[in-house]
């Protein structure tokens, strides 16, 4: 596989065309916008939590194939996970797209490993994740206030 094929794997192209959980969630516990200053793309993440478990998650916005596929795959992986589990997956993912290390149990995420060869696209892959992690933090902070 050429580098470009590694970047745009079949599964990524599919998620780009038919993204999962590409939806607005009404009465979300948290709704957060993420912005990629390199390209100007914007994404909105919607989250619902039940006792620390992500019960629903959706996204909306415009972005490149990489960012859309990454967001789509992310939503399928995080649904049903606890915050701690989500953070752990994110760490593995972050490592993979920045230095190419494919950790244990990354599952479908592996299709995004090719990104690490394209420094200018790493932000695309991470955009949805960063926004989600920030959203989870915000919910935590609000919980603290209660």
């Amino acid at each position: 596989m050429s580098e470009i094929q590694q970047l745009y794997q079949q599964l990524i192209l599919e998620h780009n065309r038919n993204p999962k959980n590409f939806k607005e969630i009404e009465h979300a516990d948290c709704k957060l916008e993420g912005y990629n200053p390199l390209c100007g793309d914007q994404i909105t993440i919607f989250l619902k939590l039940e006792n620390d478990v992500i019960s629903d998650i959706g996204f909306q916005g415009k972005g490149c194939a990489i960012s859309k596929a990454s967001a789509s795959i992310m939503t399928t992986m995080l649904k049903g996970k606890t915050k701690a589990e989500a953070a752990e997956i994110f760490n593995k993912f972050h490592k993979m797209v920045t230095d190419g290390t494919i950790g244990e149990n990354v599952g479908k995420l592996e299709v995004l490993a090719g990104v690490h060869k394209f420094p200018s696209r790493v932000k695309c892959a991470i955009l949805a994740w960063h926004t989600t992690m920030k959203a989870l933090d915000e919910i935590k902070a609000e919980d603290g206030k209660r």
Binding site: L7, Y8, L13, C64, F118
Partner: protein, 405 residues
């Protein structure tokens, strides 16, 4: 074609010459490739008369000074300036505009005054004025544009409060060439000073500061074959002479006491520290290169290629080209439905084609067009119709790639 021999021209660029499958470089609005003569001028300076300028009483320093000043003279002549000391060397157009924002605007603007720019400016002609407005209490206003990248009712926005009117001569997104001469005349009739951002225009068409009658002109050398790290500011002599200094340091002072200092004559007053000597000399060589071909011929050649490109690109289904289709410089911004511009750029790169994707440092335009980004292909004198064909083919291929199951 009109005795414009593009193969002969390409042969003088090491990025293309003698290469098997040379890169199709369509990001000229960002920075251009450099001909061998420019690279050689730089190497020659480093190998034969590498020395500081202006203060050395030895032969290579006098030679370096001579070449540096001669580059200044040739650039002045290129824009029709009758006084070579009206040219200040800078790192690029951005520094030139900021120089005016610091050394002129901050000493001449007051609360109630207006700085007028347009919605089609590059960030380099927006942010300096936002900051200057913040520091002086002046108000920043914009002439709006419509979706074709044309200014709307410009005259309505110029009024007696306008103290500075800063406008790009050619848009780096739409390729629009603005009627800067006419607008300068109106602005002057209200007593405003006029800054023309010629970063995009000067590589492609004849800029004559006497004809335009602008007070300031910002120039980007590296966008017209010169080395990176060089540009220039033109300003009218009397304005330069009255202006406060910008950077303080060596070269720009006459006498220094512990408390205060007097300034050198222009343009040294604005060239503090060791200048970008090799780069300025290279800029001189770039102007020579352009002159040998003739800027009018370059303009005609590029005009024909641009028309060709627009016709070919328009045949692609889902293609949206921004700006006026007929009257424009050699820069084309577009989007293809279903294909994000960054994916497009990435896929074209695999076909050995370099285009740009993004907001092109013009976020207000993107907001106007209601898109996060566009793809942009920009041409220069070494590009060919065959390259345009390759571009169109590669776009089709990218579309297909992203659409196929």
């Amino acid at each position: 074609m009109m005795n414009f021999d593009v193969e002969k021209i390409r042969a003088q660029f090491p990025m293309f010459a003698g290469k098997d499958k040379p890169l199709i470089y369509l990001d000229n609005a960002a920075t251009t490739q450099k001909p061998q003569s420019v690279i050689d001028a730089v190497t020659k300076y480093y190998s034969e008369y590498s020395a500081n300028v202006h203060r050395g009483i030895y032969a290579i320093s006098e030679k370096a000074t001579h070449e540096y000043e001669s580059a200044r003279t040739r650039i002045a002549k290129f824009i029709g300036a009758d006084f070579e000391k009206s040219i200040v060397f800078t790192r690029g157009a951005t520094e030139a505009i900021n120089l005016v924002a610091y050394a002129w605007a901050r000493h001449n603007l007051n609360p109630g005054d207006e700085i007028l720019i347009t919605e089609m400016e590059h960030h380099s002609n927006i942010i300096p004025w936002q900051l200057a407005a913040r520091d002086t209490g002046a108000t920043l206003r914009y002439i709006p544009i419509d979706e074709t990248g044309t200014l709307v009712e410009s005259e309505k926005y110029i009024n007696p409060k306008t103290k500075l009117f800063a406008i790009t001569q050619q848009s780096n997104v739409f390729g629009t060439t603005n009627p800067v001469k006419e607008l300068t005349e109106i602005a002057h009739s209200f007593g405003a000073k006029v800054l023309v951002d010629a970063a995009q225009a000067m590589p492609h068409l004849m800029v004559d500061v006497v004809d335009l009658d602008c007070d300031f002109l910002a120039i980007s050398g590296h966008k017209m074959l010169a080395p990176t790290g060089v540009g220039a500011l033109f300003a009218k002599q009397e304005i330069l002479e009255e202006m406060e200094p910008f950077l303080g340091g060596g070269e720009m002072i006459e006498q220094v006491t512990m408390e205060t200092a007097t300034w050198s004559e222009i343009p040294q007053k604005f060239e503090a520290g060791t200048p970008n000597i090799a780069q300025a000399i290279g800029f001189g060589a770039a102007v020579d290169f352009i002159n040998q071909i003739g800027i009018e011929k370059i303009k005609d050649y590029e005009g024909e290629m641009t028309r060709y490109a627009i016709a070919k690109l328009s045949e692609i289904s889902g293609m949206q080209i921004y700006g006026d289709l007929f009257c424009r410089g050699p820069v084309i911004s577009f989007n293809v439905s279903g294909v994000h511009s960054h994916d497009l750029a990435q896929l074209l790169d695999m076909e050995n084609i370099a285009i740009r994707a993004g907001h092109h440092c013009a976020q207000p335009i993107m907001r106007k067009l209601d898109v996060p980004a566009t793809a942009r292909a920009s041409f220069y004198l070494y590009n060919t119709k065959a390259e345009v064909d390759a571009l169109c083919e590669a776009i089709e291929k990218a579309k297909w790639f992203l659409a196929t199951d």
